[in-house]
């Protein structure tokens, strides 16, 4: 009876039974492409891993040019399981970006952004940008040589954009050069601004998915089965998460993330320096663009082109919104395939290039 009273008391205040009822009613469509439904959840799970390991790293990390490198060194050499936590944070970040890309392309090719899910797509596009900013800002924090030059180049690229570029560069760097001031800023972005923003966008994104339910591709609209979300789908999700933890632990143990050498603002850039793999396709493109194209700086042209593509990404659901328009459907498929091929090929080229 006591338990019952407590349940009733909580229920009156928190409407638990209403929520339970909603959860009980929630269903996931089952069809040939159901597998893609797991990648959003997987991305979210890896994000949670990032939050947990990130908080742990904050126990020891010190965000200053004098101490950052040494504190990471301390974490991976002195702190118990520090090597594990730090490597998982790095690996999970990379896997999260990979699952995010898979999620995005699956949503794109299955046309899950058709009305009324445009805003879901747009919030997802924002999350892509946020995650890339997470990667870029987090990369600098160990304050090693690679990170130092990656940040120099990355912020310099922002500076190339006409008119707004220079102020953006100074804002990002906290001055004209990459210094300790940049590190402090990036730390603030990485552990405060971006997590807060990400939380809001994830909230909107997931709430909209609940509101509209899972999208079912047109082909299967008339004949698909359903699976209960609780417990059937969530248990399948959980298997994925356990696998992910296993993979992360294995990667961390077998391929521990390197720390490299401490950054030195007066040392030359090391040979073979490259950005993280998810920036490689852009990096390689910028390497190949000639110095001058039609009287314009090649670099500026390339960067403006990437900005334009990013903009296009946001407005995809507002251009392609008629499921009956077969021609547009085809054009979008071709564009998607070309973009995917371009990213894959240029990443590989960037990876093997000297």
């Amino acid at each position: 009876m006591r338990i019952n009273d407590l349940t009733n008391w909580l229920d009156e205040r928190l409407a638990i039974s209403t929520l339970m009822h909603l959860a009980d009613k929630k269903e996931v469509p089952v069809h040939r492409h159901s597998i893609w439904y797991y990648f959003g959840g997987m991305t979210l799970f890896l994000f949670c891993v990032q939050v947990a390991t990130g908080i742990l790293l904050l126990l020891y990390y010190r965000p200053s040019a004098e101490n950052a490198f040494e504190s990471v060194q301390f974490i991976i050499t002195e702190v118990k399981f520090g090597w594990l936590i730090r490597s998982i944070h790095s690996w999970s970040a990379n896997l999260m970006i990979a699952t995010l890309f898979i999620h995005m392309f699956s949503v794109f090719f299955l046309r899950s952004y058709y009305p009324p899910r445009e805003i879901t797509w747009v919030s997802g596009a924002f999350l892509l940008i946020i995650v890339i900013c997470f990667g870029f800002s987090g990369y600098l924090l160990p304050w090693n040589k690679l990170a130092f030059f990656a940040t120099k180049v990355g912020t310099e690229i922002a500076g190339v954009v006409p008119i707004v570029g220079r102020p953006i560069l100074r804002f990002l760097r906290g001055g004209d050069d990459v210094t300790g001031a940049t590190l402090t800023r990036f730390f603030g972005f990485h552990v405060a601004v971006l997590p807060a923003t990400a939380t809001v966008f994830i909230g909107v994104h997931v709430a909209l998915v609940q509101l509209h339910g899972m999208h079912v591709p047109k082909k299967y609209e008339d004949s698909y089965q359903r699976m209960k979300f609780f417990p059937n789908f969530i248990l399948r999700d959980a298997i994925g998460w356990i696998l992910a933890i296993g993979v992360l632990a294995a990667l961390a143990a077998l391929f521990p993330w390197e720390l490299g050498e401490k950054a030195d603002p007066f040392a030359p850039a090391p040979a073979g320096i490259k950005p993280e793999w998810y920036f490689l396709f852009m990096f390689q493109t910028l390497k190949w663009i000639p110095a001058k194209v039609l009287g314009m700086d090649g670099e500026v042209l390339g960067i403006m082109a990437f900005n334009l593509i990013a903009l296009l990404l946001f407005i995809v659901p507002f251009i392609d919104r008629d499921p009956e328009n077969r021609r547009r459907h085809l054009i979008f498929n071709i564009c998607g395939v070309v973009a995917l091929m371009y990213i894959v090929v240029m990443t590989i080229v960037g990876y093997v290039a000297k």
Binding site: L56, L59, E78, I245
Partner: protein
């Protein structure tokens, strides 16, 4: 047929499935616990800070003679802990740990009361380091003082 009735029928048709189910539940439960342990053990270990090796320094130059006129005190670094050197009005040198035995504030010498005083909770020690007023429960640890030329050298007892 409703699900309960169906389950009842399956259960009655397969009475032997009960121990098997219990065994599977047991396996599932232990794997879940093992997995959680494997996740949380490193986390708890990570959170407890590693021991920093304490300085084994046994003697330190606390001050130059000229820095501490009679009836004054000076805080000095003894390893990674603060110490206090007092030059009494009568010309004697005394040295103690500067960590108040109450709640670890750092004490100071007061030339008006000629006592060692802790500002946090008005703890008072006399010039032998004995707690004589306020909340401190124990005397301050005393060190030996020698003068070597112009240097005042403090040694752990």
């Amino acid at each position: 047929m409703n699900p309960d009735a169906r389950r009842a029928k399956v259960d009655s048709a397969l009475p032997a499935s009960q121990p098997r189910r219990r065994f599977l539940d047991y396996l599932l439960g232990t794997s879940a616990v093992a997995t959680l342990a494997a996740i949380f053990y490193p986390i708890f270990k990570f959170m407890s800070p590693p021991q920093i090796v304490e300085s084994t320094e046994n003697s330190v130059v606390a001050a130059k003679l000229s820095e501490v006129p009679p009836n004054s005190g000076k805080i000095f670094k003894f390893g990674n802990k603060p110490g206090i050197l007092v030059h009494t009005a009568s010309g004697e040198f005394k040295a103690f740990s500067a960590v108040c035995t109450h709640l670890e504030c750092i004490v100071q010498y007061r030339d008006d009361t000629k006592q060692i005083w802790c500002a946090c909770h008005n703890g008072q020690y006399n010039l032998s380091g004995k707690n004589i007023g306020g909340p401190p429960p124990r005397p301050l640890e005393e060190y030996k003082v020698n003068t070597r030329g112009d240097d005042v050298v403090v040694t752990r007892g």
